[in-house]
C-alpha cells in the first residue's frame, strides 16, 4: 500500500474517532536528533516516516501511535507546501492524542548533506566486510551497516 493511501486511511479513521476524543486540527511536529533540532513544535501538514512496522504518513488527527524508526528518509510537508527530506539513522516516533508528533533520532541530516560517492564506497566496504565476517555477531553488525548504506545510496541518488 502506498504511503499516501495509508495516511489517508489512518486519517479517516482518526476523523471518525474525533467525536469522543480531544483531537486538534493542527499537527505540531518536534523533530530532533543528537546533532540538531530541526523542528520545535512547528505546525506542519504531513510527515512520512520509515519504521519497523512499515513506512507511514502522519496527518493531523492521526491515531495515537508509537513506532521504532528504521534508517531511511523522513519527509516533512510544511504548511507552505515545501517538502523537506531528512535521513534518520534510528530512533522513535510518537503520535499523541492532541495531534502532536515527536520524531527523535540518534542522528539526522538533510538528504542534501549526504555524499552519494561516499555512500557508494561505504556500501562496497561493508559488503566485503559482510562476506568476510567470521561469527554471527560480526555478520549481523556488517549486515546492519550494509542496510544503512543501501538506504543512504537510495536516498542520495
Amino acid at each position: 500500500m502506498s504511503i499516501v493511501k495509508n495516511a489517508r486511511l489512518l486519517a479517516a479513521r482518526g476523523a471518525r474517532l474525533a467525536q469522543n476524543r480531544s483531537y486538534s486540527d493542527e499537527m505540531k511536529l518536534t523533530f530532533a536528533a543528537a546533532n540538531k533540532t530541526f523542528y520545535d513544535a512547528a505546525v506542519v501538514r504531513q510527515i512520512d516516516v520509515p519504521s519497523f512496522s512499515g513506512s507511514f504518513g502522519i496527518l493531523a488527527k492521526h491515531v495515537p501511535t508509537l513506532a521504532v524508526l528504521k534508517p531511511g528518509v523522513v519527509q516533512v510537508l510544511e504548511n507552505d507546501g515545501k517538502l523537506i527530506k531528512f535521513f534518520v539513522s534510528s530512533g522513535s516516533v510518537t503520535v499523541n492524542d492532541d495531534s502532536s508528533v515527536q520524531v527523535l533520532a540518534e542522528e539526522a541530516h538533510n538528504v542534501e548533506d549526504i555524499d552519494v560517492n561516499e555512500a557508494r564506497q561505504l556500501l562496497a566496504k561493508y559488503q566485503s566486510q559482510l562476506s568476510s565476517a567470521g561469527d554471527d555477531k560480526a555478520k549481523a553488525q556488517a549486515a546492519i551497516a550494509v542496510e544503512v548504506a543501501e538506504a543512504l545510496v537510495k536516498a542520495a541518488e
Binding site: 534510528s90 555477531k137 546492519i144
Partner: protein, 57 residues
C-alpha cells in the same frame, strides 16, 4: 525476529551502527565534526566520607 536481534544485538547497538554509517556518508566539511560524536566519554569519581576519594579518567 530480525537477523541482528537473533545474533544478540540490541536496538541501541543497532542504532549506534546506523548513526555511525550515516555520519561516515556526510559531505566532507560536515564529516569531521560529526565523527566527534562516534565516541563518548564517561568520567567516574568515587566518593567517600563526603569527598572524592580519587579521580579516574
Amino acid at each position: 525476529m530480525t537477523a541482528w536481534r537473533a545474533a544478540g544485538i540490541t536496538y541501541i547497538q543497532y542504532s549506534n551502527i546506523a548513526a555511525r554509517v550515516l555520519r561516515e556518508a556526510l559531505r566532507t566539511e560536515l564529516r569531521v565534526d560529526a565523527a566527534k560524536r562516534d565516541a563518548s566519554h564517561v568520567k567516574f569519581t568515587p566518593w567517600a566520607n563526603g569527598r572524592p576519594a580519587h579521580e579516574k579518567a
